[in-house]
């Protein structure tokens, strides 16, 4: 009789312990980045590109990487949006709920979602070799858009699944074509949720390093051409940390803080939009 209550107690402690360990380590991650990064962070770093000998500890900043990340992030998000919005509208409005095609597309989106970004990078590289392209802003943007396409499409799909069926029915009943239902009614209803999905994908894109390593390469220059290599924040962090000089490594911590702050800001904005969305949903 007592044994099962003991077991209950033991597992309660284990579970609370596990949750605490995870919560603490995750707080530790943010804390570490904050405490290591904040002292090294300064304005000069944010508004200048690396000057000669930057990686030996001389003057300069990471503006090249910030701008590069934003450029590549915006570009790939826009591309992924152009592909995934029609795709999910097709899945949710044109196709029936039990359609085999829809099932297959959703399944493959899930599979694509799980492919590591380094593999996308390698794939991008093979395509680049095939068409004779060099590592560049364009190549990086194209590759990254493939990486975030499944992320964006899956979360958009979740949003559209929540749009009440009656809304589609009503629109159709008034004689609207499916195209009009999709782009004029459903998109408007789901707008905040879709925006949240876009922002989530954007944040994921900015944080990704493995896919752009091969395809966008790295440079100390600010981004100025679609066909030239471009720097990105994650790689800037990686390279700065890889140097043996403490002052450069500290800049790496500061860069990590910048990146984390950027991503947290984006995902909090996304959550804010997402919440506004649920307020209008008819349940």
């Amino acid at each position: 009789m007592a044994r099962r209550h003991v077991e209950e107690g033991v597992f309660k402690v284990l579970m609370a312990g596990a949750a605490l360990i995870l919560a603490a380590s995750l707080a530790l991650i943010l804390g570490t980045i904050l405490f290591k990064g904040l002292p090294a962070l300064n304005v000069a770093m944010l508004i200048s590109a690396p000057k000669g000998g930057y990686y030996l500890g001389k003057d300069g900043g990471i503006l090249n990487a910030i701008l590069g990340s934003l450029a590549i992030g915006f570009g790939s998000t826009a591309l992924a949006l152009a592909l995934s919005l029609p795709l999910v509208l097709y899945l949710n409005i044109y196709l029936k709920k039990r359609s085999r095609l829809a099932l297959a597309v959703r399944f493959f989106l899930d599979v694509l979602w799980g492919i590591p970004s380094i593999v996308y990078g390698a794939f991008g590289f093979t395509v680049m070799m095939a068409v004779g392209m060099r590592a560049s802003l364009l190549a990086g943007t194209l590759t990254l858009s493939l990486v975030i396409l499944p992320i964006m499409a899956r979360s958009m799909d979740e949003v559209l699944k929540m749009v009440p069926f009656g809304l589609k029915e009503t629109s159709a009943a008034m004689g609207a074509t499916r195209f009009e239902t999709a782009f004029k009614v459903v998109v408007k209803q789901a707008y905040p949720g879709l925006l949240a999905a876009v922002l989530t994908a954007f944040g994921r894109g900015i944080g990704d390093a493995a896919a752009v390593l091969f395809t966008a390469s790295y440079t100390d220059f600010l981004p100025y051409s679609l066909f030239k290599p471009v720097a990105t924040l994650p790689l800037a962090i990686f390279f700065q940390l890889a140097t043996p000089f403490p002052e450069v490594q500290e800049r790496g911590y500061a860069s990590a803080l910048v990146l984390t702050a950027l991503i947290l800001a984006i995902s909090l904005t996304a959550r804010w939009f997402g919440r506004r969305f649920t307020r209008h949903v008819i349940r």
Partner: protein
């Protein structure tokens, strides 16, 4: 046929093409990677590529064995840490925690899933590596000088550090999928078990987990596949020293994704080198795709109530 209908049917056709393109993207990736790794596949047997541990690109030896072993080792460590932590946490959140705790935990888990792998890597370098180097490694290798703790790597950059960082990276995924799976278990099952006098834990163990075990397996598989392909974080903390196979959690490991990332820049300089690296990417693609197909396939069937 007016403009509206024309636009509708045009849109339908282009959207259909688009979904077919998405369907074929993974096949395209497999094909592209295969095409580029053909040169090395034609010259060296698959067996040697996968199992030989001799990696000397300049001499034309491209055995991926050590890297595959490194990946497996680091992934195994990560799973050993992540599975109990995240499953216990997920069960706690879904079965025990107060609603407010749950409402707070969910966005936090989502936020964590969105943090850049490089940032996890930075944390690994700053916090985990010193912890392993100064405390865990001296303690364990002195007290337990046998497998899997005996090692002569005192740097802290090792498989265990990589495993710890990876475990934290994949636990948000395992937690959120497990939580969703547990949520699909009908409340009435819990009530049925509780009302014959079972304790909460007995209810979880005998009724809830039994119903959810397949879905939870899928959650673990998905986490596993993520750990398998994660690149930047392991590149930063695993040490990446060439070594035949790691024999200790404190040995450096050189996982496959790190190899691919590291050889960027030099791989065009030696014949077949690029083909071998892309072959490594193909292996990674195949393994993760297989895991994902299994995981999502299971979840799809689980959600539709077939299991």
């Amino acid at each position: 046929m007016d403009v509206r209908k024309l636009r509708d049917s045009l849109a339908r056709r282009s959207m259909f093409t688009l979904s077919v393109a998405v369907l074929s993207l993974s096949f395209l990736m497999a094909l592209g990677l295969y095409q580029r790794s053909r040169p090395v596949l034609d010259r060296i047997s698959l067996r040697e590529l996968l199992f030989s541990t001799l990696w000397q690109p300049a001499q034309g030896h491209f055995g991926l064995g050590a890297f595959i072993a490194g990946t497996l080792w680091v992934t195994a460590i990560a799973m050993a840490i992540a599975i109990p932590l995240s499953l216990l946490t997920a069960i706690y959140l879904s079965e025990y925690a107060h609603r407010r705790t749950r409402d707070l935990a969910k966005p936090v888990v989502d936020l964590l899933a969105g943090i850049s792998p490089v940032v996890y890597g930075v944390w690994g370098v700053v916090a985990v590596v010193p912890l392993v180097r100064d405390h865990l490694m001296p303690f364990f290798s002195a007290r337990f000088p046998f497998f899997p703790f005996r090692s002569d790597n005192f740097t802290g950059y090792c498989a265990l550090s990589g495993g710890i960082v990876l475990a934290l990276m994949i636990s948000p995924i395992i937690i959120s999928v497990t939580d969703e799976v547990l949520r699909t278990v009908p409340q009435a099952i819990r009530e049925a078990s509780l009302s014959v006098g079972a304790t909460r834990w007995q209810t979880v163990k005998h009724a809830v987990l039994r119903k959810a075990r397949i879905g939870i397996t899928a959650a673990v598989i998905l986490g596993l596949s993520r750990a398998f392909g994660e690149t930047m974080a392991v590149l930063m903390v695993c040490g990446c020293a060439m070594r035949v196979t790691p024999h200790s959690v404190f040995d450096a490991a050189y996982p496959l994704p790190a190899l691919i990332a590291n050889t960027y820049g030099e791989m065009m300089s030696i014949p077949l080198y690029d083909a071998a690296v892309l072959m490594a990417a193909l292996v990674l693609f195949a393994v993760t795709t297989l895991f994902n197909m299994a995981g999502w396939g299971i979840l799809l069937r689980f959600e539709s109530g077939d299991m």
